[in-house]
Every structure is written in structure tokens, then in C-alpha cells.
Symmetry: C2
Subunit: 419 residues, 2 copies
């Protein structure tokens, strides 16, 4: 009999408790053991919950219960969760968490602490998709060349709706909030931070690279408009918020941003709230993993899979996939050094000579134009929609600043990277 304590019995915690009961036939046959939730910790004991387990509001009732083998941390947040899982490990317990923020900041300290104990976190990236499992075990023979993922269902839902219904960002955001796909303050999702946390976790497993959210390029989808979507359609692209990790010699670039991607790519075909992650290994080539990135049951499916793993065999794999650092360790590439193709939308005054001035600025910044479309906005202004050949991030950023300073450029130019 394996005993589990759940810290944080919200939507996912309730699902975990229910799955362990409802699917116990198959779970105990697979694990070779009975698995039981002994206790759950909640903040508010008075609140009615749809689950039949003993509840307490004191984490120590779990952390110091010697009968409990596995602590499931579902409380969220960083500092308090870090304290809780640290204490759980010190008290000899295995830990399962779905907490991506905790891992984005503390995964290396935790891997150090959990050298001889199981610490699993499948649910922290892309919910129900077993991507940690795939990357850490299934693709372990490969140098990972790149990871490119739709890791935030909220953004993918919104971008899909904007494309299919032709309506503005603000209206789709409101709709997503009403449906519960987006939070009241949507910044964490639409600003790319949620995807960045997940990307950092995957980057550690793929490359052994230690970086924090503030170290990498993170942009969201807030500036995407119907003009951009029309451009994408015309040139055979989809617009997706992608988390990207890419190895280049001994450096790894990590970035999250809205991206134009050829609609022929498998990952471009993923619509709605679904997530999908493409991984290119030097030996296997491209593999892709698709599924629900959120939702109580999907996330709990991953949490329970980790519990079963631990019940089967305790610790079987180093937490972040590396038993020891690789010789010739990889380092994080400076964002300024990233090269990419770019798409720019520039709102300009519709006057003679403006086009010549704009193209001059491109030339002065070593940016070579691939396609250009001019779309009138009203009597006096127009949008220039421009895609470039490969260019350096720092050159693009400098050029955008220069453009913005021109009296014939009406608003800050919007840029979307082409991958």
C-alpha cells in the first residue's frame, strides 16, 4: 500500500483523488500496489469539496506523517511551495508536483536535494501530454537540436478564434475569460510567461541549461491584429505563440513569442486549446507530442502517472535527466545574437517619399526586405506589412527604435518573428 498526501485540493487535486479511486482497478494492476490518498491540505476547511478524503489546513499533518510516502504539491506559487517540497524531501518523502513556477525558479536546488529521492513533475509542462517522459527517457540518446512548442492553450485558443472569426484580440480575450480559458488578469498567459516557465523546464532536460524567466526573451500575443493574420494567410503562415529552444554550437537560445510558422508544419496544424511540442533530435529527427495542456483531469492524469512510476520503482531517472553535467556544457545565447526572419507592421503617414525613407532605414540597419505590402488605413495613413530575410535581433531592435523616431511613423512598429 502506497499512501499519498495532497497539498492543495483544488480542481487538479480533486481529480487526482478521484482518479485514484475510479481507476484503481487498472492503476493497482499496473503499479502492483494499492495507492490511496490518506489526507489533503486545504486553506479553507469550511469550503465544500467534491471529494471524499480527510482534510486538514496544516501542511505538517502531511509532511510529518510517517505513513505518507508521496507528497503531491498542487498549491501553486513559488516561495511557500518551495518550503513545502523541501521539507517533504528532508522528511524522506517522494514528491510529485504540477507547479511550473516553482520549477522555473528552483529546479536545480530541488534536483540537488532529490538526488536519492523521487521528484516528479510531468504535469508541469503541457498538462496531460507526457512530454517530460518523452524528452527525459524516450529521446535520451539524442543531442536535442530544437524544441518548438505550443505550450499555452489560452493563447492558441485566442489565435485560432481570431483567425477563424476575424474579430479583434480584445473581443476574443473577453470571450476566453467568460469561458474560463483566460484569467481575469490574463498577463501570465497572453504575455508568454506561462509558456516561458514550461520552456525553461524542457531546456534543462534537453540541454542541462540553468536559466530563469528573467534571463530569456519573453513576448506575448497582445499586439497581434487582423492585419497580421491576413498577411499570414496570404503567405501561407499560421500565427502561434511558440516556446523555442534551439542549439547552435555550444549555445542555446531560449525564447517565447508570437511566431509566423509555415502552415505545412505539423505544429502549425494544432488549433484551439490544444498544446503540441515538436522536438528535433540529431538521431531521431522530428517527433511531435500533442494533447490537452490544461484541465483538471488531463493534468491529474500526469500527476497520477508520476505516482504510479514512484510506486513501481521509486527513483529511476535523475530529476532533470542528467546524472552529471555534460562535458563542454552549453550556455545561454544572448537574445541580441538571435537570428531570425522577421515580419513588421509599420503604421505610416501616406505621403510621397515615405516608402523610400523606410527602405533606406532598412538598408542602413543591414535588414534585407523579402516581401512588402502596403494597405491603406484611412485618408492619411497606411500599414506597411514587411517580411525580411534572415537578420540579427539586435539590428531589428535598433531599426525599430529608429523607425519609431521618424515623424512619418505613427505608432511603434509591431514585429513578429518568422520561424
Amino acid at each position: 500500500m502506497v499512501k499519498v498526501g495532497i497539498i492543495g485540493v483544488g480542481t487538479v487535486g480533486e481529480s487526482v483523488a478521484k482518479i485514484l479511486v475510479e481507476n484503481q482497478d487498472v492503476i493497482s494492476a499496473r503499479a502492483g500496489k494499492q495507492i490511496e490518498v490518506k489526507k489533503g491540505v486545504v486553506r479553507n476547511l469550511a469550503k465544500k469539496r467534491d471529494v471524499n478524503i480527510a482534510l486538514t489546513d496544516n501542511v505538517d499533518d502531511i509532511l510529518e506523517d510517517s505513513e505518507i510516502d508521496i507528497v503531491v504539491e498542487l498549491m501553486g506559487g513559488v516561495d511557500e511551495a518551495y518550503e513545502v517540497v523541501t521539507k517533504a524531501l528532508k522528511n524522506g518523502k517522494a514528491v510529485v508536483t504540477a507547479n511550473k513556477a516553482l520549477l522555473a525558479y528552483h529546479r536545480y536546488e530541488l534536483a540537488e536535494l532529490a538526488q536519492n529521492q523521487a521528484f516528479e513533475y510531468e504535469a508541469s509542462v503541457a498538462g496531460g501530454i507526457p512530454i517530460i517522459n518523452a524528452l527525459r527517457d524516450g529521446l535520451s540518446a539524442n543531442h536535442i537540436e530544437s524544441i518548438m512548442g505550443i505550450m499555452n492553450g489560452t493563447c492558441n485558443y485566442m489565435l485560432t478564434k481570431m483567425r477563424d472569426e476575424g474579430v479583434a484580440y480584445e473581443r476574443i480575450l473577453k470571450e476566453a475569460q467568460e469561458l474560463g480559458y483566460a484569467e481575469a488578469d490574463p498577463t501570465f498567459d497572453v504575455g508568454g510567461y506561462d509558456a516561458a516557465h514550461k520552456l525553461l523546464i524542457l531546456a534543462s532536460i534537453a540541454y542541462g541549461i540553468d536559466a530563469k524567466p528573467e534571463d530569456i526573451l519573453i513576448e506575448g500575443i497582445e499586439n497581434v491584429t487582423q492585419d497580421d493574420i491576413a498577411f499570414a494567410k496570404e503567405f501561407g503562415y499560421e500565427i502561434k505563440l511558440l516556446g523555442i529552444a534551439k542549439k547552435d554550437q555550444n549555445e542555446v537560445e531560449l525564447r517565447v513569442h508570437a511566431s509566423l510558422i509555415s502552415k505545412e508544419e505539423m505544429i502549425a496544424k494544432i488549433d484551439g486549446v490544444m498544446n503540441g511540442i515538436s522536438v528535433v533530435g540529431d538521431k531521431v529527427g522530428e517527433t511531435l507530442y500533442y494533447g490537452p495542456g490544461a484541465g483538471g483531469d488531463a493534468t491529474a492524469s500526469a500527476v497520477v502517472a508520476n505516482i504510479i512510476d514512484i510506486a513501481r520503482s521509486g527513483k529511476s531517472t535523475p530529476m532533470l535527466g542528467f546524472d552529471r553535467p555534460m562535458e563542454g556544457k552549453l550556455t545561454l545565447k544572448n537574445s541580441d545574437d538571435i537570428t531570425s526572419r522577421y515580419y513588421l507592421r509599420i503604421n505610416v503617414s501616406d505621403k510621397t517619399g515615405v516608402l523610400a525613407k523606410i527602405t533606406k532605414i532598412f538598408e542602413q540597419n543591414n535588414i534585407s526586405v523579402e516581401t512588402m505590402i502596403q494597405k491603406p488605413l484611412d485618408e492619411t495613413s497606411a500599414n506597411l506589412l514587411i517580411s525580411t530575410h534572415n537578420a540579427k535581433e539586435s539590428d531589428i531592435q535598433t531599426m525599430i527604435t529608429t523607425l519609431q523616431e521618424q515623424e512619418f511613423v505613427n505608432t511603434k512598429p509591431v514585429m513578429i518573428r518568422i520561424v
Copy 2:
């Protein structure tokens, strides 16, 4: 130091040996150990090989070498391979194999023998895609509702080419043979047998079900024509060879056949030689795994991942995912009891009254027509392209026999199931 012996040093074996050298930096960091190929067994020692390992033509040089920890079986075939891996296990070695035929016939005996030893086989299904890993570990919390997979790259390549280039099956087959995608005798691939072997392996992990190829419905793509592809296009379908496992109460249906599938489904979007497997779990919903199903390096990527797993932790999971049978074991559904929608192509004499007679026969067999297209073939005959509502397999088979006996039906009607 972990020592490996490779039995069968062909394309995949050579790749395994090379990956262990070329990627040893990342492999040893992940495994926490050095891994080395000590020896390889080949049939013909005289043949020149592109790999630098000691070779022998005697399997016992590996099986009885007490220094060798892991035996990698890549010889193929059933009986001899079974003998070899059995002896390896008896001699206390861990086994890694890519041999799907061996597993299609002997996986339960092997699981019994390997109760306390590692026996891994990731490469046996869908080459480089870590689908065994996903199904056995990542989705272990779920009752699996269905598996639907493009598990044979040869067939998918051919069907994609037929659709895109509008040419006949025979010509595409010849081209696939010239490119090395199809064997001189292509039956194993185009007849669905290769996919069936893989499906049986997945069905054991998902359902604990013991079945052999001769127990299940296996059909291939040999009868697909441009008429069928035109019908599929018109009604929004793709034609794919699918391996399907589906749970219905306490029964599981297992079948491999050409299928019409809505082109909106993710799996329908997989083209060319690529493989993809969709798995629906009762808790997680649909997840899908995509990647290369064949090729030396992709297959070797999976073999080496298994070697790393074993180096890391020995045996960590029961070979077929179940530590003990589930209570209320699932049984195999009789093929006659399968229900499906069907598409039929019937070559008929173009005479007055024939349509009425055909529809009468449908009615007598309890088959309800959904759509019908009549396409003239020449002055005297026409193709009827018919899709049905849900019907029973045995009723369809009886009706096809009846139709075939009619003097106005010119050839045996062709049937493709709609999923």
C-alpha cells in the same frame, strides 16, 4: 561501465554502435555510466561494415560472455530470435529488441521470463517515436478508450503519393520499391501485417490483452483506387491505413485496415512516410505522438534510449505495463461484431433497374445508405460509390457476398471502413 552485445549488425545495429560513440558525451552524462559495445554478431564475417566493433558469427560469444550486461537483439524473425533472447535472459542479461514479429508472437512468454530482468522494446513500434514509453508510463493512470495509429510508413507514403499525384497504386508501389520504402515482396507492409504486429504490442500495454496476428482483422491498401480517393476528397476524408484498438465495455476490438477518416482529425494530417499514433484515455482525453516510424538512426535512437534506461535503473516497469492482470480482464471482440460506417465501391452494369436492385439488397441486410454517387466507367458499366450509416461487420460481409453473386455486379465490391 555498461557493456552491450549487438546480435544482428545491419542498418539499425550499425546506427546503435555509432550513436553510442558519437553521442557518448550526452549519453554518459544522462546515464551516469559509460556505455560501450563490446561485440557484435553477424551472419557473414566477410561482409564489409561501416562500424568499428569486434565481430563474431557465434551468438554464444555474446550470450555466454559474463562481461556483457545488455543483449541487443536486431536479428529479426521469430523462432531463432526467441531462442536467443530466452537464452540471454536465462544467462542473467537485460535484453533490448526492435523485433515486432518476435513480440507479436511471444511477448507474454517473454514477460513471464523477464519478471525480474529488464526487457525493453521501444523500437518495435513506430521506430523513433517513444510510444511504448508514453503508453506504459505516461498514460498509466487511464483506462485507454482507443488507440488509432498510422503505424506503417510505406503505406502512408503510398497513399499520400496516390492522393497528391493522382496515379495508380501499382505505379506508386514500383516507385516506393525503387526508393527502398517498400520491399521486393511488399505484402508484409501493404497487406497490413507489419501494422498488426505493432498494434498487438500496444494492445497488450493498453489492455493486457493477449492476441496473435491470426486472431484479428487485418486488411491492407491493395484495393484502394483513384475513385476512392476522389470520393474521400469530395466528402472531406483522408484515406489512411490505420491500426485500431477500441474498448467497448469488457471487450476490445483490434483491427488493421484502410480507413476513411475526417481530414479535420490530427491523425489525418500526417502525410508521407511519417507515423502517428492517437491514444484516447478516459481521463487525459486525446494525445497524439508523431515522428519517423523507420530508418536506421530513428530506430536506433529508441534502442539506445532503452539501453540508457537500463543503465540508469535496471528494470523499472513491468515489461507489458501490468504487474498483475486487471480484475475483470478484457477479452477480444469477435470481428463479426464490430460496428462501423462503411464505404463501398460497386462496379455495376449500367442498366435500368440496377440501382433499385442494389438498394433493395442494402435494405435486406439492414444497411442504411448515407450517400451515393454513380460514376460511369464506360458505355456499359458504372461505379457506385456508397457510404453507409453505422452497420454491423457481419451484415456488411454478408451483403458483399450477396452483391457479388448478382449478374449486374461486375467485380467483387471494394469496402473501406469509415472511422
